[in-house]
Chain length 408, copies 2
């Protein structure tokens, strides 16, 4: 790694105040996996009775910890569970050594916590193709187990970061019919962020009571509306993992309460957007809202064609209301479009309609919107009721600096 990039200009002012979640304790440590002088391992202990659900990358070259999580996630167990995460090494493309390292780590963590290894879920993020020094992580396990405590979300978020420039957390306390429940989540991610997968690393905890299948269904659905709607560079990680844990410690049933689903959606969307706000080199946060498409799938295709277009992303970086590039991206997406029904907005400024520039368009208005930090691009296809919104960032010299000028 070269010099650390500066904190993103799109970062929130501070890490949010997140409530402890009954049934969850956390600890972090500096195991020296790759980085010096910072914590790089997180251990989360989940009480017996906790339901654990997950969503994972569909990459064909996914990492050993992902394969191990996938094999375990569907099992029912009352034994409690643990999540062990390291930063600095992805344990990806490491052949059989990768799986062996995961087996050693889950066994060691299980021994330290008096859990079966099948109840230990691991994630690794960082360099691809180098052997994970799992012995260094194992050596830290007794200390981690001994320092587990409620709360500590910000330290946890910091311990799992790699090129992240700020720690990402979101949470809420929501009143359900049966009483209040708490949700807290953390995430890491900055580059190699792409849609259509559970992107990056995300851990969400609640003391609500849900069955494992109900929790799984909910996070799968909501991932598709949140983490699967963001992109930084269209490149998909080998390690993307979302784990959600419902301890049930509140005693409040949440499975059928729409307020819980709405609150969980809000937390997941907040975390997803924080990942975009920490996109490598980002200086603008961009919302692409497509309406009027022939179908929801078409709307999504158009939205991602725009969001992943290097020419659109560089135009945003240059504060250029270049709607010609938006037209180009719609045209290449492969989804249905009729040039002469297309309309385009930058912010609230209608720049193009019915296949050409809007009659009252004044570029100064659109340029004023582009000078801001929060950019909204609206595209209406004029064909049907399909709609989709995705979030991305601009493409700047900072992205090149991080990925070309610095050796990673």
């Amino acid at each position: 790694m070269g010099a650390t990039p500066p904190r993103s200009p799109l970062a929130p002012a501070r890490f949010p105040d997140l409530p402890p979640v009954a049934g969850v304790t956390l600890a972090t440590a500096a195991a020296g996996v790759r980085y010096a002088g910072r914590d790089d391992v997180l251990l989360a202990r989940l009480d017996p009775g906790t339901a654990v659900a997950g969503v994972f990358t569909r990459s064909a070259t996914r990492a050993a910890p992902v394969l191990d999580c996938e094999a375990k996630i569907g099992a029912e167990s009352a034994a409690g569970a643990a999540i062990l995460v390291n930063a600095g090494n992805a344990n990806a493309f490491t052949g059989r050594h990768g799986a062996e390292a995961v087996a050693r780590l889950t066994a060691a963590a299980g021994a330290a916590l008096d859990l079966p290894g099948e109840r230990v879920f691991t994630s690794s993020t960082g360099v691809i193709g180098e052997l994970l020094p799992d012995d260094r992580i194992a050596a830290a396990l007794d200390g981690l187990a001994g320092s587990l405590a409620p709360g500590g979300w910000e330290a946890a978020a910091r311990a799992i970061g790699t090129t992240d420039t700020f720690p990402k957390g979101a949470g809420t306390t929501v009143e359900l019919a049966g009483g209040p429940v708490r949700i807290a989540g953390i995430a890491k991610g900055s580059g190699m962020i792409a849609p259509d997968m559970a992107t990056m690393l995300v851990y969400i905890f609640t003391d609500a009571r849900l069955s494992r299948p109900a929790l799984q269904e909910m996070v799968s659905e909501l991932s598709d509306e949140t983490f699967n709607r963001i992109t930084v560079d269209g490149d998909t990680s080998t390690s993307d993992t979302l784990l959600a844990a419902a301890t049930g410690a509140s005693g409040v049933d949440a499975a059928s309460d729409p307020a819980f689903r709405a609150a969980l959606h809000g937390v997941m969307l907040d975390l997803a957007q924080q990942v975009v706000r920490d996109g490598e080199g980002a200086t603008k946060f961009v919302e692409i809202a497509v309406t009027g498409a022939a179908s929801a799938a078409d709307a999504r295709s158009h939205a991602f064609a725009i969001a992943n277009s290097p020419l659109v992303k560089t135009a945003v970086a240059g504060e250029d209301p270049n709607w010609g590039r938006v037209v180009m991206a719609v045209g290449k997406s492969g989804a249905a479009a009729d040039r002469d029904r297309l309309s385009i907005r930058f912010g609230d400024v209608r720049v193009a309609e019915a296949g050409w520039v809007a009659p009252d368009y004044d570029e100064a208005d659109a340029a004023a919107h582009m000078h801001g930090q929060e950019i909204r691009i609206g595209v209406d296809l004029g064909l049907g009721a399909g709609a989709a919104t995705v979030w991305t960032c601009d493409l700047t010299h900072g992205y090149i600096d991080i990925n070309a000028d610095y050796r990673s």
Copy 2:
């Protein structure tokens, strides 16, 4: 437009010596479409009996001249033909005004050349969404018609360029069974270059004799092996057009001579690779050769996933033999892959095999290859006989400069 970017470091030393093609005359002029102080219009006159074939962008927002060419290209005619090209304005996303401008121009060019308007093919390249000042082009037509002459390929290639930093031409004289025939072609293209379409503007001329259907079949097939195998930024133009004209003036039949097909393939591949060598901001020419895939389609998906990955392209820019990013791109492509059968080469250096780093890998060897200007990345899937090779360039600060810092 801002400052002109410097000539690409990957440019050929000079424009090639191209033979005149009997039955083809050319003229260029400065019509002031957008640029000052340079020719921006090309007129090509094709003698009676010429067969004209074309391949066009599949963009859903394709420009008015493309729609007009598509409507005309299939017709048989002995009347001769003309090609009229302007740079500086794409006449794209200009509503009914766009089609009206094309109709006026083809009628005016037909009148100047004593041809029916249906035999005039036009292309426009440049800014999207602004009205084409077709009156300025029409005003230049009599002068163009009066100065038509054989040869003049370099001036023709210069007249159709936009952000191109060098004029692109290729050609050959090939001995067929019936005697020698000549092929000469020119192209423009630098950004908004993506696969799976006939990319950018390309005009190829030969004095060989072929029927229109035979010529069409040949250029369609060969486009798929040449222009449809390159990418600069994954963004697809609204104006991509390839027109091929066979005048038959040599009297030599070429339809069934494999030497002609091979020569035409060579000319088209040369032009396609020149477009990549003029990729916006490019400092490295990159060949991605995928072998051992389950099918040819899978090989192509893997190759383009690698070629379009911003993380791979920035790694190449940074001269970093970062094979982990190649693994990532293979994993996200959607095509079949088995991590543990994958092998990767940079140049002749085997860096990874059987799902992990090669036992004798020495990074210094791979780094030495990455310091060069011609980069070869080889990926073998170990699954089948599917193979595909594509060409791209790196992603550098120069691309950001051209597309963000300069207003286009």
